[in-house]
């Protein structure tokens, strides 16, 4: 081996050199690079997880939003329905009031008419009585003649005329 240049001190030098280089490269290269690769892998994993979380939160928000919107729509519909019912009830009430009012007015009108009629009737009776009295006076004045029937008729015609007037 000596002829090929192998020599114990040189061999030991190379072994020590290797040991030093392995240590130096471990400290300067392998360890930091592996740490960085590990750190990056962790960071990417975390980012992906966060992205998933954000996606999930977004989906949740969307679901909540949709639920809120649906609820609001339901409420709006309920409110509308209530309003419609109330309006209908008010309408009915108004109609009822109007009908009652109309009925009252009609009743009053009827009562007034009746009153006026009674008044007129009394008036007519009074006039007839006056007419009869007048006729009787005339008959009595012109003595009772056979033509008193004609006089009575004449009185009635007069009475009718006065009533028409």
């Amino acid at each position: 081996m000596e002829a090929l240049g192998v020599n114990l001190p040189k061999l030991i030098y190379q072994i020590i050199n290797f040991g030093i280089m392995a240590f130096v490269l471990y400290r300067l290269l392998y360890k930091p690079v592996f740490n960085m690769l590990q750190e990056r892998a962790t960071r990417i994993e975390q980012s992906l997880k966060e992205a998933d979380q954000v996606k999930e939160q977004l989906a949740n928000a969307k679901r909540d939003y949709d639920a809120e919107i649906a609820k609001a729509r339901q409420e709006a519909a309920a409110i509308l329905m209530q309003a419609q019912e109330r309006v209908k009830a008010q309408e009915l009430e108004l109609i009822n009031q109007a009908q009652q009012e109309a009925e009252r007015i009609r009743t009053e009108a009827r009562a007034q008419t009746e009153q006026e009629r009674a008044l007129m009737f009394r008036d007519a009776q009074q006039q007839i009585a006056e007419m009869v009295t007048l006729t009787a006076e005339k008959v009595l004045q012109a003595e009772l003649k056979q033509s008193h029937n004609a006089l009575i008729e004449q009185s009635l015609v007069d009475l009718a005329k006065s009533r028409n007037n």
Binding site: A3, L4, G5, L11, Q14, M21, V24, Y26, L37
Partner: protein, 304 residues
């Protein structure tokens, strides 16, 4: 089409012409790493090994000195490389991938950079002039020598009279300043020992003394299997050592031979090939270590 043929012919002419302009007299490449400083153990491959360390640490600091959550540039590249290596190891041995990553990834990075460093221009060709070369008569030496260019074709020669190397005197050789650590057996043997003993350490720490039951078994034919297992374990040391050394050293020899035969154009595809080999050897070293850890840490008794 005619243009492509023209380019091919021009390259061929350059290749042939370069052979005439730069004729080479002899080849020389040494199996051993040369000592740069006399009477010390500091070799040219150790120098490159230090440069590789500096390059790796610089790369680590540039890429991972200021890590950002959104990566870019070198950080992006190193993250990709480390993740790719980690997934590769995990595919082979999910149980030990994380724990053994620093050791095996360091093997990968040191080997690949050492392999590629050997391909840089200047490695093996820039050196220190050395006069005592002739005294060494080793069969393991083949030296590359560049002769002086043919006169009258190129401007005044930078070579001294009778010298084979620019800047050196006649008769002097060079000791290359740089040499790929992977082409030095000390480096490959060190890695092989680390790989095998690390595997042993993990196996023993998981299986305890029971691990050795695999090798020492008195149960009939299993005793023979145990011996084979022991041999296969020990054989991994030379296998790792010479696989890496052989491939990288052979690559250097191949490139030198190609440059010797045809100095220009032709060696280029071989350079690309050697870049590929450099990667594959680093890959094989790391993957085999991981695979042996997976095999050795399995409980032997589970199979019976």
């Amino acid at each position: 089409m005619a243009r492509n043929i023209g380019i091919a012919l021009a390259l061929l002419a350059l290749a042939v012409g370069s052979r005439i302009i730069y004729p080479m007299e002899s080849l020389a490449i040494e199996v051993r790493a040369d000592d740069l400083i006399p009477n010390t153990i500091f070799t040219n491959s150790m120098l490159v090994s230090l440069l590789v360390n500096v390059a790796l640490i610089t790369l680590a600091v540039v890429a991972a000195g200021n890590l950002k959550a959104v990566p870019s540039g070198w950080q992006n590249f190193m993250e990709w490389l480390i993740e790719w290596l980690y997934n590769l190891f995990k595919g082979i041995n999910a149980e030990y991938a994380q724990r053994t990553f620093p050791v095996i990834a360091t093997i990968f990075f040191l080997v690949i950079l050492s392999n590629w460093f050997g391909l840089l221009p200047g490695v093996g060709s820039i050196g220190i002039c050395h006069a005592a070369e002739q005294n060494e008569t080793s069969m393991s030496e083949i030296r590359l020598a560049v002769s002086a260019p043919v006169d009258n074709i190129l401007p005044p020669s930078p070579f001294a009279e009778g010298s084979k190397y620019i800047g050196c005197q006649a008769g002097e050789g060079i000791v290359p300043l740089f040499r790929s650590p992977s082409a030095d057996l000390n480096f490959t043997l060190a890695l092989a020992l680390i790989s095998v003993f690390y595997t042993l350490y993990l196996s023993i720490s998981k299986l305890g003394a029971g691990y050795f039951g695999k090798f020492f078994n008195l149960n009939g034919v299993m005793s023979f299997v145990g011996i084979l297992e022991l041999i296969s374990l020990l054989a991994r040391i030379p296998a790792f050592t010479f696989r890496l050394f052989g491939n990288i050293f052979a690559g250097e020899v191949l490139l030198i031979v190609m440059i010797f035969l045809v100095p220009m154009v032709v060696p280029l595809p071989f350079y690309f090939f050697e870049v590929f080999v450099g990667f594959i050897q680093a890959f094989v070293f790391a993957v085999l270590t991981m695979a042996f850890i997976a095999i050795e840490t399995q409980d032997h008794n589970e199979h019976h």
